[in-house]
């Protein structure tokens, strides 16, 4: 008979596996494009451990390739990643009671895809309905998180290994904006989000000539402000759940 810890862990791994069908190609695409944009294979690979957030990693690669200043790149990626605060807020009531040796690694593993699996385990409520017993659902979270981390880093490695061999004449620089487009579409769920996207896009084109690629950061802030303003003054639609997946 498996221990309850181990069986939670194994269930977390098992439920994370189907999501890897989307993670593996994205990790490989990131690896290929990062090297193609001029990152060294080592930096491209370690970004998957240090940053561990696919869309931000891709932004860093693209802006490094475009010769932007490190501070501006960091500023842009830091704004993009701020959405992780929402996952932290959603997960906090479930894991805040754990000792620090659990809280730190679980926070590190709190990506879009691991969040989706872990939160559904916390929401399904089977544990509370039974007689009082220890709660091992953090093992479920850990299993999902480690699975995602492993697949993300291995697929990055495969992409990085391929990336060095691809020819520049294939026009792969165009693949980065296409990838962002695929990440954009699922976030356009309601009117205010579409206003945010259109304003961000228009501002980004108009501010393109700003020095140091600062136009991108300014355009993101303008888009966020326009979406919020639209929601306040025009549209009162129910906002979609923040948990929708927008890449690792």
């Amino acid at each position: 008979m498996a221990s309850p810890r181990w069986s939670e862990f194994r269930d977390g791994v098992r439920r994370e596996l189907p999501i890897q069908l989307g993670v593996i190609p994205f990790g490989m695409i990131y690896g290929v494009l990062a090297v193609h944009a001029g990152m060294t294979p080592l930096a491209a690979q370690l970004s998957s451990c240090i940053v561990f957030a696919g869309s931000a990693q891709l932004v860093i690669a693209q802006l490094l390739g475009a010769g932007a200043a490190p501070l501006v790149i960091a500023l842009t990626a830091v704004v993009l990643n701020v959405r992780h605060v929402l996952y932290s807020a959603s997960m906090a009531p479930n894991v805040a009671h754990l000792p620090r040796r659990w809280r730190l690694p679980l926070a590190y593993l709190l990506t879009d895809e691991a969040y989706a699996v872990a939160i559904s385990r916390y929401l399904d409520g089977r544990v509370e309905n039974r007689a009082p017993q220890p709660d091992y659902r953090h093992w479920h979270f850990l299993g999902a998180g480690i699975t995602l981390w492993t697949f993300w880093n291995v697929s990055t490695f495969v992409g990085v290994s391929f990336g060095a061999q691809l020819s520049p004449k294939w026009g792969l620089d165009f693949a980065i904006p296409l990838t962002f487009m695929a990440l954009l579409v699922p976030s356009l769920g309601d009117g205010a989000s579409r206003v945010a996207a259109l304003s961000g896009a228009a501002a980004s084109v108009l501010l393109f000539a700003m020095p140091l690629k600062l136009g991108l950061f300014c355009a993101m802030v303008i888009g966020i402000g326009a979406g919020a303003a639209w929601e306040t003054f025009v549209g009162g639609e129910t906002p979609p759940k923040p948990a929708e997946s927008t890449g690792t």
Binding site: I50, N81, A89, F180, L188, L216, M220
Partner: protein, 108 residues
């Protein structure tokens, strides 16, 4: 090269801080950014950021606004957008856009 590592560690530290914020500082609105006033802004980050990343790559060419409506990259981007709307898949979006780009580049 130092700049690359500086960027990676800065973004990595910030991302970890975001993920840890509410878990470490008590409850679902423990972090400043998770309070309702800020939280309603956060859902506009992905649409705004991704659109701002895509638009100039397609609409700006050599520093000025694209004027040719039959530009291969523009048309390939439309093909990729259709694929993204239909499939919601990074892989299919990328494949449609790249195949369209190469087909159109040899035609136009």
């Amino acid at each position: 090269m130092t700049g690359t590592w500086l960027t990676l560690f800065t973004v990595g530290a910030a991302t970890f801080a975001y993920r840890l914020s509410c878990i470490e500082f008590g409850g679902s609105d423990g972090a400043l950014l998770a309070r309702p006033r800020w939280r309603r802004l956060l859902r506009f980050v992905p649409p705004s950021a991704f659109a701002a990343l895509v638009a100039p790559e397609i609409l700006v060419r050599d520093g000025s606004l694209l004027s040719n409506p039959l530009d291969p990259r523009l048309l390939a981007a439309v093909a990729a957008l259709v694929a993204a709307l239909l499939t919601r898949s990074v892989l299919f979006t990328l494949a449609s856009g790249m195949i369209a780009l190469h087909a159109l580049s040899s035609l136009l």
